[in-house]
């Protein structure tokens, strides 16, 4: 079909006189300028070194968290008032206790509230990401759409989600719908903006390069332009995931009968500080886990972030 297909493969060509010269000119493969990266004559060793550096970084990060827990424990020991600040051990045992037991007794256990919040997050986040990326792609491709939608986003973006809650209760009641809509409202503008930036940043020459290599317009759009913007879009997802948690916990604190925000509210009303902290820790752990998922995708999408 294409030109190259009809030609004999390169590997079969006879060795020319000039080739030796070329090989000699090149010398060693890594002999390549003053660049510090030039010493990578062993790719595997280089990657091992980067993995070691990464492990060290993670270990240091873990030490920071442990340090925080130690300080908390010491302060709590001195204060000796579990209503003001329960100790780490007390908080952990409370967390463990209510993980499977309902609180209050007619309520629900932590795992149930956690799953309820998680479901709202995932539904709202998925809708928001799809809507935001679609909007962003349209804005990046068409000037009119960009000028039309940009002010709408700029008006919506700085509004705190809390402000919408009474309005959504009037419109959608107190069921699942207002919570999901609230997350969508928080996620969509962030995703639209980060997508526009990521798509705008794809160099025009990268597109041209793909075209001169024989890729069709559609193939280039899919495999070069969108692919090239993917790390930026995933970074946008990390930012908007944090916004989604802000929205959902705010909504659950005010108008809900389930979810981690509701649990924290209930525990606060009964001055069960250890349970309040348990709820907060539970949110932190889940947010961390979801962020780790997106970061994993980011590592897959952008090799330069590995190690």
């Amino acid at each position: 079909m294409s030109v190259w297909r009809s030609l004999p493969p390169l590997g079969e060509r006879p060795v020319a006189d000039g080739e030796e010269t070329v090989a000699a000119l090149l010398g060693r493969e890594d002999q390549d300028g003053l660049d510090e990266r030039a010493d990578r004559d062993d790719l595997a060793a280089y990657r091992r070194a980067r993995r070691r550096a990464r492990a060290r970084r993670l270990a240091t990060g873990a030490a920071g968290l442990i340090g925080l827990a130690v300080v908390w424990q010491i302060v709590a020991t001195f204060i000796r008032d579990p209503v003001f600040l329960p100790s780490v051990t007390r908080t952990v045992s409370t967390f463990w206790h209510y993980l499977g037991r309902p609180y209050p007794s007619q309520g629900s256990p932590i795992w149930y509230d956690a799953l309820t919040s998680l479901r709202r997050i995932l539904i709202g986040f998925a809708i928001g990401v799809v809507a935001g990326v679609t909007l962003g792609a349209a804005m990046s491709a068409t000037r009119v759409v960009r000028h039309l939608i940009d002010p709408v986003i700029e008006v919506l973006r700085p509004l705190p989600p809390l402000a919408f809650i009474p309005l959504f209760i009037i419109w959608f009641g107190i069921g699942e719908l207002p919570k999901v809509v609230l997350i969508v409202i928080g996620v969509t503008p962030i995703m639209a903006i980060t997508s526009v930036v990521a798509l705008d940043e794809v160099p025009e020459d990268l597109r041209l390069c793909a075209r001169t290599l024989g890729a069709s317009r559609f193939y280039t759009l899919l495999h070069v332009q969108l692919r090239s913007a993917l790390p930026g879009i995933l970074t946008g997802m990390r930012i908007s995931m944090a916004a989604a948690w802000t929205s959902i916990v705010a909504a659950e604190l005010i108008a809900a009968t389930s979810g981690l925000g509701y649990l924290i509210q209930q525990a606060g009303d009964y001055l069960n500080t250890a349970l309040v902290l348990s709820g907060i820790i539970c949110i932190a752990l889940m947010a961390l886990a979801l962020d780790a998922c997106i970061r994993g995708l980011l590592l897959l999408a952008d090799p330069s972030r590995r190690g």
């Binding site: 300028g33 075209r211 001169t212 495999h223 090239s228």
Partner: protein, 295 residues
């Protein structure tokens, strides 16, 4: 070797057109069937004009450009920033449409980008999410109908191995672009462009961002590769020394409206190496170009 070249010609490669008009002395030797290459196409740039309009303002970027490049020739476009040399290159690539005139490559008029006209940029423009090997295989895979879910093809893999070896990156097939040094990235970009068998390579200040020493190495690399593949090359640069070292001829661009001021022959024998920059004839050619630029 001769039969080999014939096979190439019959294989659907745009056969290099009749080389009529230009330089009978060098022409004969230059267009003899090359040893391993797949040959180049001749390029005819005929009275090209381009005007950019932004708002109400019109800027004439190019006017009345005429240039003929023989098959297998390496011509440098030399000029200061904003003289329209990159614009001209993009018109030949098919990335930009001219307002006047025609460009034919291998006898066929240019319409849109094509893998027959490879392009190399100032930055290597490797796809950062693909390994060196997959970068090199991008062109062949994108051209296949399946494209998306193409199974691995041992023939193609062998070809990738061969070309990785040729550009001196045999050990770096599985490295990602950010793991390569600047010069290695440019060599990978060269391999990626050459695997689609272009009959014309368009190079837009490809080594402009490299340090001086890496740049020297890349000059030798390019000269060696060109000796081997005999692809026609149009090489844009603003560096006089680079233009003299690489080019068979140097087209000096400039003026208002921008055009080609003069086309200067570089009478230095082939094969050339970076060390040729110390010779008498090299300095003479440099002087001649400098004189042409200061007009």
């Amino acid at each position: 070797m001769g039969a080999r070249a014939d096979a190439d010609g019959a294989g659907g490669q745009p056969v290099t057109g009749p080389v009529s008009s230009l330089d009978p002395v060098n022409g004969a030797a230059r267009n003899a069937p090359s040893s391993v290459g797949h040959g180049g196409a001749d390029v005819v740039i005929d009275s090209i004009g381009k005007t950019f309009r932004r708002g109400g303002r019109r800027t004439v970027a190019l006017a009345g450009i005429n240039l003929k490049v023989r098959a297998g020739e390496l011509v440098c476009l030399l000029g200061p920033s904003g003289c329209g040399k990159s614009t001209l290159l993009r018109i030949v690539a098919g990335a930009l449409e001219q307002d006047e005139g025609t460009v034919t490559v291998g006898g066929r008029p240019v319409r849109g980008p094509s893998p027959d006209r490879g392009m190399l940029f100032q930055t290597p423009m490797l796809f950062p999410w693909l390994t060196t090997r997959k970068n090199i295989l991008f062109g062949p895979k994108a051209q296949r109908a399946g494209g998306l879910n193409e199974r691995d093809d041992p023939e193609l893999d062998a070809e990738a191995d061969a070309i990785l070896g040729t550009v001196g990156l045999a050990k770096f097939g599985d490295a990602f672009p950010h793991e390569l040094s600047g010069g290695m990235q440019h060599r990978a970009a060269f391999a990626r462009a050459i695997i689609t068998r272009p009959s014309l390579l368009l190079m837009d200040e490809p080594f402009g961002a490299l340090d001086a020493i890496t740049r020297l190495r890349m000059h030798d690399f390019l000269l060696g590769m060109w000796e081997q593949y005999r692809t026609t090359i149009i090489f844009v640069t603003h560096d006089i020394e680079e233009a003299v070292l690489l080019g068979d001829r140097v087209a000096v661009m400039g003026g208002r409206p921008p055009g080609i001021q003069e086309v200067i022959d570089i009478p230095i024998g082939r094969p050339r190496h970076a060390v040729d920059a110390d010779t008498e004839s090299f300095l003479t050619a440099k002087r001649k170009i400098r004189a042409s630029l200061t007009v």
